[in-house]
Every structure is written in structure tokens, then in C-alpha cells.
Amino acid sequence: MLNRILRISLLILLSGISLRAADVQGTVVVQHKLTKSRVTPTASMYERGVSISLGSDQEHDPLAYERTHVVIYLEGDSANDEVSGELGQKDRRFSPDLVVVPMGSTVSFPNYDPIFHDVFSLSNAKSFDLGNYAQAHSRSITFPKPGIIFVNCHLHSNMSAVIVVTPNRWSTKADAAGHFTLPNVPPGKYTIVAWHKTAGFFRKTIQVTATGHDPIEFAIPLDEEGRVQQASR
């Protein structure tokens, strides 16, 4: 408890001297494809009389997909960092399918489809059911606690999205190349976390100074059979 108070006060102090803060940068390396996406619809679906033909996965670089679905954040609390997020429903999918918001943020769930959706979650961090609502309607939910929230649709069992509610504003998704930047991190000792839906959590301790930090690389390792191995640290 004492430790926590100390850390919070340290953070407040550091935020006050933000000029001395540094960007935390690193790389995510994914060795194997982790998500098996089957097919994606290629045509607009809801025009009456037009049937859907199914195409194959258009993803050119499956590893890039994996890398963009890795969430990076620093552990530790921070106040007043709430933002507004959006998790829309389009073409019978959640768009985007991964939303990262600091805790206390509000996420809206607008329906862009001509059909009904019924968005719900049963996750511990926040469970909700928005009920049926049609096109041009939206519902919003505020997430006061950090955590991983899996979102589904009652009407469409294959719709799935994840909302990652992080403890503070230092959170991001890696880009296609696996690079990430957490801007303006005050110097100090942090635990940096990488999370992937399939691979789980990977943690590293970093020392951030005004001049920077040791290079960070998250290798999401896999054993020979393709199973994810937990990071050694």
C-alpha cells in the first residue's frame, strides 16, 4: 500500500516535470500466426436479393495482423486519463475489433448495419447487455475498472471484439511492423505489459530515464508445436 502511494506520488511528480519525460519505444516480434481467421465476406451483405459469396482471407501478412493486435501498456494507476472510444458494428463485425482505453473511459457501440445487433459482455471487468438496437442507434458504456472485456453479439455468435481497459493513458497498439511508442513516460521503473488475445500477457521491467531506456523487445515465443510459451520474465 505504501509502495502504491509512493508510486502515485512519484507519477504525479513526474507528470509535473513532463519536459523530462521520455518516449518508451519497443518492438513486438511475433514468430507465428496466432489467430486463425477463416474467411471474410467480400461483398456488401445486406442488399436484398444479393447473396454473399465468400472469399479467402485477404490478409497479406498474417504476422502483421497479429502485431497490430498486441496491446502495450504500463502498469500503475493514473487519474483523469479517460477518453471516448468507439466500437461500431459494421458488416456483421465489430469495427474495430480491438479497442484500448484508459480506465474510466466511455465506449460507444454504434450500429452501422441495416440489421439489429445485441452487444453484450460477460467479462468480470465489466458485464453488460445493450439489448437489440437497429441501424443508426448507439449505446454507450463506461469502464471504471481496468481489465480485458470480451464483447459479443447475441444475434451473431461469431461477432467478437475485445476492449482493453488499461490503468493509465500509457497504452497503445503495436503497428504493423511491431513498433510501438508510449509517449511522455516520466523516468522511473515500470512494468511494461504486452497482451495478445491468444498468447496472453508478457511482462518486462524497464527503467526509464530522461535520456531513454534499454531497448525493449517482446518476443511472443512459440514452441515447436505452435503453442505459446510464457515469457521467461
Binding site: 445486406y46 436479393g49 447473396s51 454473399i52 441495416p114 439489429f116 437489440n132 437497429a134 444475434l155 455468435s157
Partner: protein, 548 residues
């Protein structure tokens, strides 16, 4: 109709044999074929039934699988949404979208959701491989069975959608009903009318009339387009509403190859049997007709030779044939006897003719007989035998027959004849010829009678023929006649001695006589005989016996 006995015997033994054999083989073949057919039929039926059972099994599996589709929670939620928002187009679109997704994944051709009142709520259909939503207004598809829409038949199955043990609606799943899914020929009919058929080489009308004969029978055998089919009403596929699905199996296509093998075997067997029957018939007809044919052959030979030999009766072991032979022999004996009698009578007739002639002139008594004897001697010495010798003998006997037509004044004139009388006498060969011409069987003697006064140098009478143009027999008789004339006494001269006569013959050889004949006639053998004969006047009966 004329026919050889052997042929007749062959036909009478072979034809019934062949008919019996062919009939027997045909019967056996028919029996075997029908047995095979029955066996085939029952095994076909078994296969048919088990196939149907398998289909039923798979239908059951299928329906279990489809039940799971009905338990789809998303679909339930969708149905509930539509029920709760009946006017919302978006709600219906949501449900249709769900149905489309199911159809996409599970490849159904028709999906329909109805509410608990059986009112259709949403439906999608596969048209040209594209899933389209359909206007469900007015749809009343059956819960189960065939449903026709837009000219396409769908086989429907329905499953309740329950929420909290409360029925909220029905999911109907349809698959395109197509006969191509059946491995055997199949016919879909409704109330006796054929709707679809994939029986090869048969029009639906033919199939309809053929199946019409089956009526309500579940299992039935019928003929379509000349081929036998075993049909069975499929009870695995419940079509309802009077639809009947009959699967067919061609009996011919199964038993056909076996039948053709059987036919082949029976054909070869019956061919061999007929061949052996023909051989046996041939042998038996030969054994029956053979002795008769031999008999006939021998009769024909004896007809050709004119001889009537005694046939051996022991050779024929068959009773009837032996009897026939014996009868023939008896007949032949009778004929022979008759012929001998005739011969006898004929000889006696000639003999008496000759005697008549001789009797007219004392001086020439026995002349004909002697000339005949001498001629025979010469002929024998010249190696003339058989028929020819007989001709010489008879001809010589008759050679002066024409003298019958010469008046007694000339013939019996005791003095030398005048020129006119000589001319009359010289007509006797021509007269003789005229007399004998009319007598049948005397043709052979005519040259002797007519030409026995022709000379070697052509100075003779009546035709003045020279040397070899005169037949040999006539030339012989000429020599013999001259010898006897010389050695016989005449009213105007006494008989010349044998030696003088021989001398005279030799002298006239080459002019009056054939030198060769004279050489033979004056040869030691003949001369001795002649000499001996001139001494004895042979009596008539003895002469006949010699001739004979």
C-alpha cells in the same frame, strides 16, 4: 416325294431326336434362367431393401444434425427479435441474414422460419447458386415432404424452435430434391402421374404406363422399354401429399451377362448333342438301309450285265433282308428258267428254219449245220470267242435262209443254171436279209446272211464289197460255205475230195477269199478237224447240243 430309304430312315430317326433334344435343352435353359432370375431377383431385392434402410438411416442422422441447427441460440434470438418487432424490416433482415449464414455454412437450399402459428416469418432460397431472400407471403409449405417452388422441388424437414420449453416457431430446412442424387433409376410420381424419371432410354409416358400396372404394390416387377425392372416404393424418403418415390433396378442388366453365358453354354451343348444325334441317326439309317442298298446295288449291276446271280443269303443278318434276298433269288431262278426256255425255243426255231431249208434240197441236206461248224472252227482258231463266236455260229446256220424265196425250179435244178437262173439264185443273200430284218434280235446275223458271197477282190454279190469292208464273220462264213459246197455232191458233179477242196481254197485266197482266213482254215488244226467232220454226217439233235 421320291426319297432314298437311307434318307428317310435318317430323317425319321433324327428329326424327332433333334426336336426332343432341342426342346429339352430349351426347357432346361428356361428353367435355369428362371431359377437364376429368381435368385437374382431376391438378392436384388435384398440389396434394394438394405440400400433403402441405409438411406433411412442417413435421413435419421441428417434429421438429428438438423435438430442441432434448430438449437442455434443466435437464431432463437433472431426469431424472438422478429416476434417482438413484427413491423421492423431490419428485424426481418436480421433473421434473413442469420438464415443466409446458416445456409452458407451448411449448404442448404431453402431455409424458412415460421412462428408458433405456422406463419412464415423469413425465408431464403438458393437460386442459381445464389442465396436470395424470398417473398414469403402466402407460403404454406408442409412440415415435412416435398415442396415445389418456382419449378424446383425441395424436400423439407421441420424442427421446432423452443425457448424455455416454449415453442416459439419452426425452422424448415429444404434441400433440392433431384433424382440425380439416387444411384439407381428413380421415379417420382404423384397420384399415379410420373413427375420425374431418370430411367434410362424410357420416356415418362412409358414409365407411367409400366408403373400403372404396379398400382399400389410396394414391390413389383415391370417391363419398361423392353427391359425388366424390379421396383420398390422407397419408404426411407417421406414425401407426403401423395408423392411416391419408386426406385428401380434393372433385372436384365444384372442377370443379362449370366444369361448370355448360359445361352452360350446351352447352345454349344445342344449343338454337340444334335451333332451326335445326327451321327447316331446316320449310323442307324445306314445299318437299316445298308443291306437294302447293297441289294439294290447288286440288282442294278445284274440289270446292267443281264446276269442274274444267286445272292448269298447268309451275309444278311436281318431277317427281313434275308427273306427279301431269298425271294429275289427265287424270282431270279424263275426268270433264269424262263430265259433258258426262251433261248431253247429260239435255238430250236433257228434249227428248224435251217432244217426246213436243208430239207428242200437233198443235195444241200445238213449244209447249214456243217457251215456253222466249220465257221466256228475257223473262228475259234482265229481266237474269236464269246458273243462274236455265237454270232458266227448262228449267222452261219442262217446264212442261206434267203434260199427259201428261190423257186424250186432254180434251186433244185439238176443241171447247170442258165444266166437268168443264176441271177435269181444270186438274190438269195438279199432275200435272206429281208426275211430276217423284221425279226427282233437277229440284227447281228444280217451281215453274214447278206454278205457271205462277197469276194475279197470285190467281184462277189450282191453289193460287190471288197476286202475288209466285209465284216470278218461274213468272210469266215464265205470260206466255210465254199469248202462245204466243194466237198458236197451236186446233181451235176460229184463231191471233191478234202485235199482238192483245200487246194482250191488256197488257190482262190486273195481273189475270192480273205488270205488270212484261208491261211487259218488250211492250217493243220482246222484242216484235221474239217477232214474228220466231212467224213461223218452229224445228226440234227447233236448239232443243237453243240450250238447250245
Amino acid at each position: 416325294m421320291k426319297m432314298r430309304f437311307a434318307t428317310r430312315a435318317f430323317i425319321w430317326s433324327f428329326v424327332p431326336f433333334a426336336i426332343m433334344l432341342a426342346g429339352g435343352f430349351w426347357f432346361v435353359q428356361q428353367r435355369v434362367q428362371s431359377t437364376v432370375r429368381t435368385g437374382m431377383r431376391s438378392s436384388l431385392l435384398d440389396a434394394h431393401v438394405s440400400m433403402d434402410r441405409m438411406r433411412a438411416q442417413s435421413e435419421l442422422q441428417n434429421s438429428r444434425l438438423l435438430q442441432i441447427v434448430g438449437e442455434n441460440p443466435s437464431l432463437k434470438a433472431g426469431l424472438q427479435l422478429v416476434i417482438s418487432e413484427p413491423k421492423s424490416k431490419a428485424a426481418r433482415l436480421t433473421l434473413e441474414d442469420q438464415l443466409r449464414e446458416i445456409a452458407e455454412t451448411l449448404h442448404f437450399d431453402l431455409l424458412l422460419v415460421s412462428n408458433s402459428n405456422n406463419t412464415p416469418m423469413a425465408g431464403i432460397l438458393r437460386v442459381d447458386d445464389q442465396l436470395v431472400t424470398v417473398d414469403i407471403a402466402g407460403w404454406k409449405p408442409p412440415q415435412k415432404g416435398l415442396f415445389s417452388f418456382g419449378g424446383v422441388a425441395y424436400q423439407l424437414n421441420s424442427f421446432p424452435i423452443d425457448v424455455n420449453d416454449e415453442n416459439v416457431g419452426t425452422l424448415s430446412i429444404g434441400e433440392r430434391f433431384d433424382l440425380t442424387q439416387f444411384t439407381t433409376p428413380t421415379v417420382l410420381s404423384r397420384l399415379g402421374k410420373v413427375l420425374r424419371s431418370n430411367v434410362p432410354n424410357a420416356s415418362p409416358a412409358e414409365v407411367e404406363s409400366a408403373l400403372g400396372a404396379c398400382g399400389e404394390q410396394v414391390e413389383c416387377e415391370t417391363k419398361i422399354a423392353g427391359e425388366s425392372y424390379l421396383t420398390l416404393v422407397s419408404d426411407s424418403t417421406e414425401l407426403g401429399d401423395g408423392y411416391v418415390l419408386r426406385s428401380l433396378q434393372s433385372v436384365d442388366s444384372v442377370s443379362g451377362p449370366l444369361h448370355s453365358v448360359l445361352r452360350h453354354v446351352f447352345f454349344v451343348a445342344s449343338f454337340l448333342a444334335l451333332l451326335s444325334a445326327a451321327a447316331i441317326s446316320l449310323l442307324s439309317s445306314r445299318s437299316v438301309a445298308g443291306p437294302i442298298a447293297t441289294l439294290v446295288q447288286r440288282l442294278r449291276e445284274s440289270e446292267a450285265t443281264g446276269l442274274l446271280p444267286d445272292f448269298q443269303t447268309d451275309a444278311a443278318t436281318i431277317h427281313e433282308i434275308r427273306e427279301l434276298t431269298e425271294t429275289f433269288n427265287r424270282a431270279a431262278n424263275a426268270v433264269r428258267e424262263g430265259r433258258d426256255n426262251l433261248q431253247q425255243a429260239y435255238l430250236e426255231f433257228i434249227g428248224s428254219l435251217a432244217s426246213t431249208l436243208d430239207a428242200r434240197d437233198n443235195y444241200t441236206a445238213g449244209h447249214s449245220r456243217r457251215v456253222s461248224e466249220y465257221s466256228c472252227m475257223i473262228a475259234e482258231a482265229m481266237n474269236i470267242t464269246g458273243e462274236e463266236l455265237e454270232v458266227v455260229r448262228m449267222g452261219a446256220l442262217l446264212h442261206d435262209i434267203g434260199k427259201i424265196g428261190i423257186i424250186d425250179n432254180v434251186l433244185r435244178k439238176p443241171a447247170k443254171l442258165t444266166r437268168e437262173e443264176m441271177a435269181l439264185l444270186q438274190q438269195h443273200p438279199s432275200i435272206g436279209r429281208r426275211i430276217l430284218e423284221g425279226v427282233r434280235g437277229f440284227q447281228a446275223y444280217l451281215p453274214i446272211v447278206e454278205l457271205h458271197h462277197e469276194n475279197w477282190d470285190g467281184t462277189g454279190y450282191p453289193l460287190h464289197l471288197p476286202d475288209v469292208t466285209v465284216p470278218m464273220c461274213a468272210r469266215i462264213v464265205h470260206v466255210a460255205d465254199a469248202y462245204d459246197a466243194m466237198t458236197s455232191a451236186r446233181p451235176y458233179r460229184s463231191a471233191l475230195s478234202h485235199e482238192t477242196a483245200i487246194q482250191e481254197l488256197k488257190r482262190c485266197a486273195g481273189s475270192q477269199f480273205d488270205p488270212e482266213i484261208v491261211r487259218v482254215a488250211t492250217g493243220t488244226d482246222v484242216v484235221d478237224h474239217l477232214h474228220r467232220h466231212t467224213r461223218e454226217a452229224a445228226p440234227t439233235p447233236r448239232l443243237i447240243s453243240i450250238i447250245k
